[in-house]
Amino acid sequence: MATKNAEAHAAVAKKYEWGFATEVEQDFAPKGLSEDTVRYISAKKNEPQWMLDWRLKAFRLWQTMEAPDWAKLNVPPIDYQDAYYYAEPKAKKTIASLDELDPEIRRTYEKLGIPIAEQEVLAGVEGARRVAVDAVFDSVSVATTFRKELEAAGVIFRSISEAIREYPDLVRKWLGKVVPQHDNYFATLNCAVFSDGTFVYVPKGVRCPMELSTYFRINAENTGQFERTLIVADEGAYVSYLEGCTAPMRDENQLHAAVVELVAMDDAEIKYSTVQNWYPGDENGVGGIYNFVTKRALCQGRNSKVSWTQVETGSAITWKYPSCVLAGDGSVGEFYSVAVTNNRQQADTGTKMIHLGKNTKSTIVSKGISAGRSDNTYRGLVRVAPTAENVRNFTQCDSLLLSDQCGAHTVPYIEVKNPSAQIEHEATTSKISEDQLFYAMSRGLDAEAAVALIVNGFAREVLQQLPMEFAVEAQKLLGISLEGSVG
């Protein structure tokens, strides 16, 4: 197996096919980070005074904080003054219809396969569900589709900058309620300089008529992307939200520090799926995105449910723990994750399930796949408060090692203060079984296809949770990320 793995490394050469850069004229904020930068961003966004005050408070707080170092990550020092915090494509200030979008940007999304025209996603598939898209290009949202139809259903789907202007009360009520300003270093930075992102509000009893999605693209050099997403599902509402991201291939490291907040009221359900495919750097670990993201859901209502599904294949360094605060009685949190690391990538990812309400349930299924010289860590916390009766948690984290130079780590924390809780945790670490490989190859598959088949089988429990459109993409992505890593 060792020799096969060696061949495998030699063959890890598949190009990152989303790595092109788009030539558009852009407006940048002055380089560096200061209160002026924060004011600049706020002014650019035409924000009300309360929003600026909120940002400044966060910025002053951030200056007193230190970057966390507890993760099993080797993060080179980041020079926060050597980056642009705002980049926006120069375009007409207001576009009346999608046809007026800068053709370069439109082509970018077409190339990425993102439907920003209002078309059916899977062309030719009858009855295929449609997806409304918010396309974020560097620091601004360039298009949101299907607005009218969503509005008819009562669903608000806006870029967050628009929402701050159009629905200030709603935004003000929830912004920073799930992830407070002082939460952690990167979240606080985001509070100060977030540029755009998505706001979704699904009113009482409404089942959102289509999948909502945001597509994040970092294009400009030397910029950080700080997006902010806020989704509120009111009583009995349902929404499924997809998130995708890519970036050009560059030799420098770029910072992506996002904050995602979800709120689910009584009987509401939010399904949040991510396919994270930021540029991972080259095979020697040069370049790539630092993906330092804070995602948290508040299951505030009775019997509310939040389900996180993530497929993490990109980024040079991933630091990300989508979490659920299960405050409402009977609320349910789910976390399904596939994290693939190859070459020099590092991922420290997992979840937190904080059980506060009675009869709350959580399920964690994490599949880590490491190849090349990468490090892949699952880090998770399951906490049961004294008041939380009859909590159930099931955690399974499996790791698959595809080379003898990579690392797979599991760091689960379990903190229980109520005896009626039933907490189960299982984990395994293994390599691909020779028997399985041999069998698949005896049926006529070549080594690579056999590995892809086995890896997809390994990750199946998670991929099943993705909406169909994403599942197909994610499976392809898994294959590509690992291509050549086992031979």
Binding site: K72, P386, D404, N418, Q422, T429, S430
Partner: protein, 356 residues
């Protein structure tokens, strides 16, 4: 005078559940009369330390030597610079070594060193009684195919017991350690075990039983540095009242330590709503041809088993005691010597009598 503030803060991952306040309080305990030293009916060396000082009259050293030892750099272990040592030459088989540590308030520190040459075998039984902060550093070096069986019971009435172990196993060596926390003291069992030679075997486990407001924890890291090693960490925690029992066990597999078999089983049982059990079964794996699995569960006694026992006429407290005893017994079964195992089981039973 000890500056407890020198200990890492609980913001440090390896000290997250540590009760540094408990250590400070234990070190400040007022003097108490020495408790009775209770040796088991075993042949071999008997060492009685009162506040870390050997009681010559009550001790029988055999092969054991007393003297200064090099302190390590561990925040707890480095405080112990003097203690006992056991060196066995190749092929020797020593009689068991029994050590009773009596604390009479305040703090005491004692080091120990066990060096076993090739093909030797030794057995060590340690008992902690009294009140105060007892801090121990034990350095263990096992040569080719050397075997060490060790059992430690912490049964102080008050205070804190901190153990820092630093063990290195040579090729084919075996180290089996069982720790029982069945007193009313706080505890930290801090161990680093390295399987430096191929085919080493390490077992480090036990049971932590906590009640009132005590906090006990284990922080054990087994490092596989050579191929074909095997390690098992089996821990049970039972927490009553407002106590906290924490189990943090880590397995680390180095790049070339192929064919490692690492296993962790951490289980917690909460007896009251106010108690806390923390678990952290950690795996850190850098080799691809290994088998590492861990299981962790927390809960209360099985309601169906309790119902069944009630239906057979067993009173509820008795049924609870039986089931809890069975839960704890898993961890104590690995003690090979009948006398030692029975004594440990009796301590656990006595604790259950008090707690239930």
């Amino acid at each position: 005078m000890t500056d407890v503030l020198e200990l890492p803060s609980t913001r440090h991952e390896a000290w997250r559940w540590a009760d540094t306040g408990g250590i400070a309080a234990a070190a400040a305990l007022a003097p108490v009369a020495p408790a009775k030293a209770d040796f088991l009916d075993l042949p071999g060396a008997r060492l009685l330390f009162v506040d870390g000082v050997l009681d010559d009259a009550a001790s029988d050293l055999h092969r054991v030597r007393i003297g200064d030892l090099t302190p390590g750099d561990h925040p707890l272990g480095r405080r112990a610079t003097h203690g006992w040592s056991l060196h066995l030459d190749a092929g020797a088989v020593a009689d068991p070594v029994q050590v009773v540590h009596v604390a009479t308030g305040g703090e005491n520190h004692l080091a120990a060193q066990i060096v076993l040459a090739a093909d030797t075998s030794a057995q060590l039984v340690e008992t902690f009684v009294g009140a105060g902060w007892s801090n121990r550093q034990t350095r263990i070096r096992l040569g080719h195919a050397a075997r060490l069986m060790r059992a430690v019971r912490m049964t102080q009435d008050a205070g804190f017991v901190s153990l820092r172990d630093d063990a290195e196993l040579g090729e084919g060596a075996s180290y089996v350690a069982t720790v029982l926390g069945a007193g009313d003291q706080g505890a930290r069992v801090d161990a680093a075990i390295t399987l430096a030679g191929a085919g080493g075997y390490a077992e480090f486990g036990g049971a932590l039983l906590t009640r009132d407001a005590t906090k006990q924890e284990c922080a054990v890291r087994v490092r596989h540095a050579a191929p074909n090693g095997q390690s098992h960490q089996l821990w049970r925690a039972v927490a009553a009242d407002t106590s906290q029992a924490s189990l943090a066990a880590a397995v680390e597999v180095a790049r070339h330590a192929q064919k490692t078999d690492g296993e962790q089983s951490l289980r917690g049982l909460l007896l009251q709503r106010t108690a806390t059990v923390n678990l952290k079964p950690e795996l850190e794996i850098f080799a691809d041809d290994v088998k590492c699995a861990h299981g962790a569960t927390v809960g209360e006694l099985d309601a169906r088993a309790l119902f069944y026992m009630a239906s057979r006429g067993i009173p509820a407290p008795r049924a609870k005691a039986l089931l809890t005893r069975a839960f704890v017994a898993d961890a104590l079964d690995r003690i090979a010597d009948d006398t030692v195992r029975d004594a440990f089981a009796a301590d656990a039973d006595a604790w259950l009598e008090r707690a239930l």
